[in-house]
């Protein structure tokens, strides 16, 4: 049906490094050879820095604007630099299905350009996953403010944002770590995160996580994700691994897990991985997560990891109440078609055509289609129906009572009995969803 899916057996990846930090991470990624098969593109406003980059595709952003001298920490410059080169950027991002955007927020180029690139890449039809760092506290208020603004924009532009707060690194490293090492660690983490995602998709797996999984997991969520990866070995590696994960500052000491509404867990180990270990990891980890969280678990086998266990967790927390600037976009070519499709459902049953394919849930389109041409009769019918709904709405002021109203009358004066985040004062049969019929 969809020629694109049939043709692209192997997923095309593009790792795009934006700004100084992104470019350094790219260098590390390329040098380590951790991601064979991926394409790399480095984008920077600073031409001199870019010349040190190993990436095959290098692009000086906004050359006429900044003359290749960088944007000096000005976010506005970074943004306009990316916008002037929009056509080139679109070309860079086209033809790939997953764009991993790597940037350090807080500076000019990364903060300003990354959201623009994310938006362009998504318009070009790619799934955009941004992996960004936020600055250390000592870098000052301005950079932090910039980073926050950038993050907000990025969240609405990219499909998913994984944030690695550098400040959390401080608690991992001791006081004697040199400044170079600390920044090195920050870049290393970005690198691990990017390669972790690559590993998730490309390594042969027992329970493989394919691109569709990731896409379903991320697409249109505008979510903020926390990422953590750890490697353990030894007898009780499953338990100690989970323990380390939960204590990881990148998961906010477990808070990110308990707040997450979807969790992607990937286990990588050698041939010696047992099913009970998988079971234990999943079970232990789920104790720290909310009941309603969606789970995706992938397992990959890697000979080089014999005796070790690598756990990677992406915990996604939907920011439902935050205004998002852009709605999820679809490829340009699709959006017109989609638009007309979305304007018709209200005509269901009175002659409107339905293009909607129920087997394939589609995210909403941002495109607002013009009003459809209607015959006078249809118009009458539609207007009549609108009138009816309005009248009904007015009558609905009185709220309906739920099927079961659980009063606390008997236990009104007492402390709630809570076990495993369940309020035991509520009837067990309700909590277990037992039907009485």
């Amino acid at each position: 049906m969809n020629p694109e899916i049939v043709s692209s057996e192997s997923i095309t990846f593009k790792v795009v490094g934006v700004g100084g930090a992104g470019q350094k991470v790219l260098n590390q990624l390329i040098a380590s050879g951790a991601m064979p098969g991926a394409e790399f593109a480095a984008l920077n406003t600073d031409a001199a820095a870019l010349s040190h980059c190993l990436a095959s595709e290098r692009l000086v952003l906004g050359a006429p604007l900044t003359r290749g001298l960088g944007c000096g920490g000005d976010v506005g410059h970074g943004r306009s630099a990316a916008e002037t080169d929009a056509t080139v950027l679109r070309a860079v991002c086209s033809g790939t299905r997953l764009v991993i955007l790597v940037a350090g927020l807080g500076g000019g180029c990364g903060t300003g350009a990354a959201p623009v690139i994310a938006r362009l890449a998504r318009d070009a039809g790619a799934l955009v996953l941004a992996i960004v760092t936020t600055p250390f506290d000592f870098e000052g208020n301005l950079r932090r403010f910039n980073a926050e603004q950038g993050l907000k924009e990025l969240r609405s532009a990219a499909d998913a944002v994984i944030v690695l707060p550098n400040q959390h690194l401080r608690s991992l490293l001791d006081d004697r770590t040199t400044a170079t090492d600390t920044f090195g660690h920050a870049n290393e983490l970005l690198k691990q995160c990017a390669s972790g995602i690559w590993r998730l998709l490309c390594r042969p797996g027992l329970l493989p996580l394919d691109f569709a999984n990731l896409e379903r997991f991320l697409r249109g969520r505008h979510a903020e994700s926390a990422f953590a990866t750890i490697e353990t070995s030894g007898e009780s590696r499953a338990l100690s691994g989970v323990d380390q994960l939960v204590r990881s500052p990148f998961l906010n000491h477990g808070k990110a897990l308990s707040e997450a509404d979807s969790i992607l867990l990937s286990l990588a180990a050698g041939q010696d991985l047992t099913i009970s270990e998988i079971d234990r990891v999943a079970k232990e980890l789920s104790k720290h997560c909310s009941e309603s969280a969606q789970w995706v678990i992938g397992t990959t086998i890697d000979e080089s990891l014999n005796g070790k266990l690598q756990l990677t967790v992406i915990a996604t927390h939907q920011r439902g109440n935050e205004p998002t600037e852009a709605t999820p976009r679809h490829p340009k070519s699709n959006s017109l078609h989609l638009g007309s499709e979305h304007s018709t459902p209200q005509l269901d049953g009175i002659g409107g055509e339905v293009f909607h394919d129920p087997s394939e849930p589609r995210p909403e389109s941002g495109h607002v289609a013009p009003a459809p041409e209607l015959s006078p009769q249809l118009k009458q019918a539609v207007l009549g129906r609108q009138g009816r709904t309005r009248r009904r709405k007015r009558g609905e002021d009185q709220p309906e009572l739920g099927l079961f109203v659980v009063s606390r009358s008997r236990f009104a004066d007492t402390q709630e009995t809570v076990h495993n985040k369940q309020n035991l004062d509520e009837p067990t049969f309700l909590r277990r969803g037992m039907a009485l019929n």
Partner: protein, 408 residues
């Protein structure tokens, strides 16, 4: 007739009933129940007093009844306390031996226990019971009594049963306003265990679960020592409430249905059985499905026992339990509860009968009196300990003897 000073009284102010037990203690360690009084309880939820206004009157009623039956006058009681705030933790306290010959004295042992007592306790938490588990001399474990041994350090492993100080005070205050003296308070879970376990069961390791009206307590006893204790603030009230919500009946009716038709298990044979409730007080009659009633009840009881099993598993207590489980409290009357518990706990389960007590009529040998009888027993142990320590009744008791009225 009786030496009044050898009378101990256990008082349990429970969620569903208030129960007082009068017992006579002999110097040889005999324990005879003389009387028992009970009254319906009000203003207690989940084992804790939430509304003390009506309580003194009801407590008085229970004590009166016990006094009449035992033909003694009650001056003081051993009061049972429980509640969600209570818990038990395992602490280890270390004390370095300072003396030249490095021999361990009783004082050293007490010091080690004192260290263990307050370790890891939150502020406002009061250590109610200290139960010695074992001692370690120079890191060598498994010593029962280190006094007289030689070593550099002595460590004490202690099970500390603790509760919130203010909430413990609430109980004491309510009883004192009756007015009646409170000798001391004890955790009801420990008391139940004292009443229903035989010395053999205590030795080989037994689990006691007290299924109370508002709260469920559990203790593990092994080698004659209480190894673990815990509470879960879920009880018979929750079962009744679930039934009331699920079947849409009033709470008192739910309670009645639970007692008359309830069961811990759902048999296939009852499928489709209907119970017709007669109309009364102008309310129309109602037909309810017996299967629903039992499934609701089964759900709750299963969950409660599962949580207890989980907690014991976490504390690695199943290794200690070889003698099976004993159920007591009003919940032990539930039809087929032993079969449900056997399935979940994977051990033999029996309904508790009062052990090592004389003078108790058959009609009073009921699992729901275990806590109150156990409290009296706890009191008797303490009285005997005082006796053996001082060789005579203590001053307070002696004064009581002088100024108090002698019973008729």
């Amino acid at each position: 007739m009786f030496d009044p000073t050898s009378v101990v009284v256990g008082l349990e102010v429970g969620t569903s009933k208030i129960c007082a037990v009068v017992a006579d203690v002999t110097r040889e360690g005999g324990f005879t129940v003389l009387g028992l009084g009970q009254a319906e309880s009000r203003g207690v939820r989940k084992g804790e007093i939430v509304n003390p206004a009506e309580l003194p009157e009801l407590i008085r009623q229970a004590l009166d009844q016990a006094e009449q039956m035992a033909d003694v006058e009650i001056r003081s009681v051993w009061l049972g306390v429980t509640g969600a705030h209570m818990a038990a933790i395992h602490n280890r306290g270390k004390h370095l031996i300072a003396s030249d010959d490095r021999s361990i004295t009783e004082d050293d042992v007490q010091d080690a226990i004192r260290v263990a007592k307050t370790l890891n306790l939150q502020p406002h938490t009061y250590p109610l019971h200290l139960i010695r588990q074992q001692f370690l001399v120079d890191d060598q474990p498994g010593i029962d009594n280190p006094v007289g041994l030689v070593g550099n350090s002595v460590e004490a492993d202690v099970l500390v049963v603790h509760g919130n100080f203010n909430r413990l005070q609430t109980s004491t205050k309510a009883v004192k306003s009756v007015p009646i003296d409170v000798e001391d308070v004890a955790f009801t879970g420990l008391a139940s265990q004292l009443a229903v376990l035989s010395p053999e069961q205590k030795e080989i390791g037994s689990l006691v679960i007290d299924l109370g009206g508002g709260i469920t307590e559990f203790t593990v006893t092994s080698g004659g020592i209480v190894r673990h204790a815990g509470v879960l603030a879920v009880g018979g009230d929750h079962v009744s409430q679930d039934i009331a919500i699920g079947l849409k009946v009033s709470l008192p009716l739910a309670e009645k249905l639970k007692i008359e038709h309830g069961s811990a298990l759902v048999d296939d044979s009852i499928r489709g059985t209907l119970i017709t409730l007669p109309s009364d007080n102008g309310l129309p009659g109602k037909t309810i499905n017996l299967e629903h009633l039992r499934r609701i009840q089964n759900c709750r009881l299963e969950e409660t026992l599962e949580i207890i099993a989980e907690r014991l598993e976490e504390a690695q207590m199943f290794d200690f339990v070889h003698g099976g489980c004993v159920l007591c409290g009003g919940g032990a009357h539930t039809h087929q509860i032993t079969r449900l518990a056997e399935r979940i706990l994977q051990m033999p389960v029996q309904i508790g009968r009062i052990q090592c007590v004389t003078g108790i009529p058959e009609s009073l040998d009921q699992p729901e009196f275990a806590a109150a009888i156990g409290l009296a027993k706890y009191g008797s142990f303490r009285v005997q300990k005082d006796l053996s320590k001082t060789g005579r009744w203590n001053l307070k008791r002696a004064l009581g003897e002088l100024f108090g009225r002698t019973p008729s």
